[in-house]
């Protein structure tokens, strides 16, 4: 396979197909509509299931049903549609079934706009629905990574029988970059042992999220918490960029991390020893690497396309080991490298002159 120039949305869809996605249920919404369009064409070509549902609520419940039957299944949407799907996410979590969801985030709150954003961070990493659970959340920063993480999402969903959300944003969805698709996996012939496939000749399987009685439901919750602890122990992923001798480190994911990377290059040219830590798994959050990093550097600057959501996770992990600051843009605006560089300049000035007030920095 050689590299092709691929649009993020198309890459996400085709990666899901090649990872073995057997059924897709969805409802169109910008900026991820090309994903659904690609699925509409390719899934039918391949004699798999594509269904445009009447709403996101219907789509996620169809996904739930297919997952219960042991089908490799996914849906995709963008922020307002993800809000609508939350009840289904919670049922999926309570039922311990594997599902992949792609969220190409756009500006909110409300209908907001169709520009790139990262403001679903709290919503999808903290709960993604009522009850005690976290989905695994994977945040690609390039089209290639969108492909790789979508394939990984199907594997993690199966391994842990869990909900996995690929959290892209409008820029990743709309951008074209050279990327390589994986080979097509052979069709899965055998359904998983736990699936509802007809109980003839075997004891029946029961999949439900309804557990009347506190003992039963607490047992389920304990099981979910054990699983989450296992995921936290094994599935943390992150990337580091130009950390050598860094005394300040930017922390950013997705498109914001790309902008931060450009800012790091410029700042390094100017002689500022700045690096970048990029969480790839937003949940499980890279706590240990951040904690270790905080012992080595003076300052962390979190950069996001929201009003400071991951900022609070960083602050909680780091405690008083290092100063943690935030800069970002909201409403679908993408921060520029210049803006980040100005804040970093401000922070360095601040250390030289404690009376200097860093502009645009949330302490």
């Amino acid at each position: 396979m050689s590299k092709q120039l691929l649009k993020g949305n198309v890459a996400l869809a085709e990666a899901a197909i090649r990872a073995g996605c057997e059924a897709y249920f969805g409802y169109p919404i910008t900026p991820q509509t090309e994903l659904l369009e690609h699925m509409a064409r390719r899934m039918i070509e391949l004699n798999r299931v594509f269904l445009q549902a009447e709403s996101e609520v219907a789509a996620i419940n169809m996904v739930y049903g297919a997952a219960v039957a042991g089908t490799k299944v996914m849906t995709s949407s963008s922020s307002p549609g993800i809000s609508l799907m939350q009840e289904g996410f919670s049922y999926i979590a309570g039922s311990n079934v594997p599902v992949v969801v792609i969220d190409v985030m756009r500006g909110g709150p409300g209908l907001g706009n169709i520009q790139p954003s990262q403001s679903d961070y709290n919503q999808i990493t903290k709960s993604a629905g009522h009850g005690d659970f976290h989905p695994i959340v994977l945040a690609p920063a390039t089209v290639q990574e969108a492909i790789d993480l979508t394939v990984l999402a199907f594997d993690l969903a199966e391994t842990y029988r869990t909900l996995v959300i690929v959290a892209a944003d409008g820029a990743i969805g709309q951008m074209m970059e050279p990327a390589e698709l994986p080979p097509m996996r052979p069709k899965r012939e055998k359904r998983p042992f736990w699936a509802l496939t007809g109980a003839a000749g075997r004891p029946k399987n029961v999949i439900t999220s309804l557990y009347l009685g506190a003992d039963n439901l607490e047992a389920l919750n304990n099981q979910i918490q054990d699983k989450l602890a296992l995921i936290q122990g094994h599935e943390v992923r992150y990337d580091c960029y130009r950390m050598e001798d860094a005394d300040s480190v930017l922390v950013a994911f997705g498109t914001a991390a790309r902008v931060a990377q450009t800012a790091v290059d410029h700042l390094r040219q100017e002689g500022f020893p700045v690096g970048l830590l990029r969480p790839i798994t937003l949940w499980p959050f890279p706590e240990r690497p951040l904690r270790e990093l905080a012992q080595q550097v003076d300052t962390l600057l979190v950069v996001e396309m929201n009003a400071g959501q991951m900022f609070h996770d960083v602050k909680e992990v780091v405690g008083d080991q290092a100063e943690v600051y935030f800069t970002g843009r909201t409403g679908g605006a993408i921060p520029t490298p210049d803006e980040i560089e100005r804040v970093v300049h401000g922070l360095y000035n601040y250390y030289l002159d404690p009376d200097y007030s860093p502009v645009g920095v949330l302490a």
Partner: protein, 185 residues
């Protein structure tokens, strides 16, 4: 120059997105890092559209730029928007068939190309995007003209296959219009 950003802007329907994709394909096939990102949304329907292409020797960070190295402006609103934004020392390619204003800036290079007229003379008017791309390559050979030629052969949509020869001719004419031959010693 290890990283160059190009904004291509015009009316929806002038082919700005496809011109950007041609440049990105050519860059990719030259083994370079490339990104292409469109303006997307309501403005695409009849209004102005633009895309940003970055071609680099290194992995590309931010896929969007505030101040491009090169802007190709195909209509007056795009000229008004991007003429002040091109980086000092940058290049502004102007479709002089539709843009009558002139730049007062003395810190950028200006390439005037009557893209609509060239396209109409040597093909059809809708090929103005390719004429302007040819003009840009004459001033800044980010990729070889032959690489764009090849990208057209590989990626012109099937519905436009009958226009391949005209595309190739208009690309060449745009290039020829702006190419500067080295001075004879």
């Amino acid at each position: 120059m290890s990283e160059t950003s190009v904004v291509i802007a015009g009316f929806g329907g002038q082919g700005v997105l496809f011109a950007g994709q041609l440049l990105a394909y050519a860059g990719m096939e030259n083994g370079r890092f490339v990104t292409w990102i469109p303006s997307y949304g309501p403005e695409m329907r009849g209004g102005t559209a633009h895309c940003t292409v970055i071609i680099s020797d290194r992995p590309i960070g931010a896929p969007t730029v505030t101040r491009p190295d090169i802007a190709i402006v195909l209509n007056q609103p795009s000229f008004d928007k991007y003429e002040p934004l091109v980086k000092p020392g940058g290049l502004l390619v102007v479709n002089s068939s539709l843009v009558t204003a002139s730049s007062l800036r003395d810190d950028l290079e200006l390439a005037l190309v009557p893209a609509d007229a060239l396209a109409e003379q040597f093909g059809t008017r809708q090929l103005l995007n390719v004429a302007a791309l040819g003009a840009m390559l004459a001033k800044r050979p980010l990729v070889a003209l032959t690489a764009v030629d090849q990208a057209l052969r590989n990626h012109l949509p099937a519905s436009k296959a009958h226009l391949l020869a005209a595309n190739l001719t208009v690309l060449e004419k745009g290039y020829a219009h702006c190419v500067q031959l080295p001075l004879a010693q």
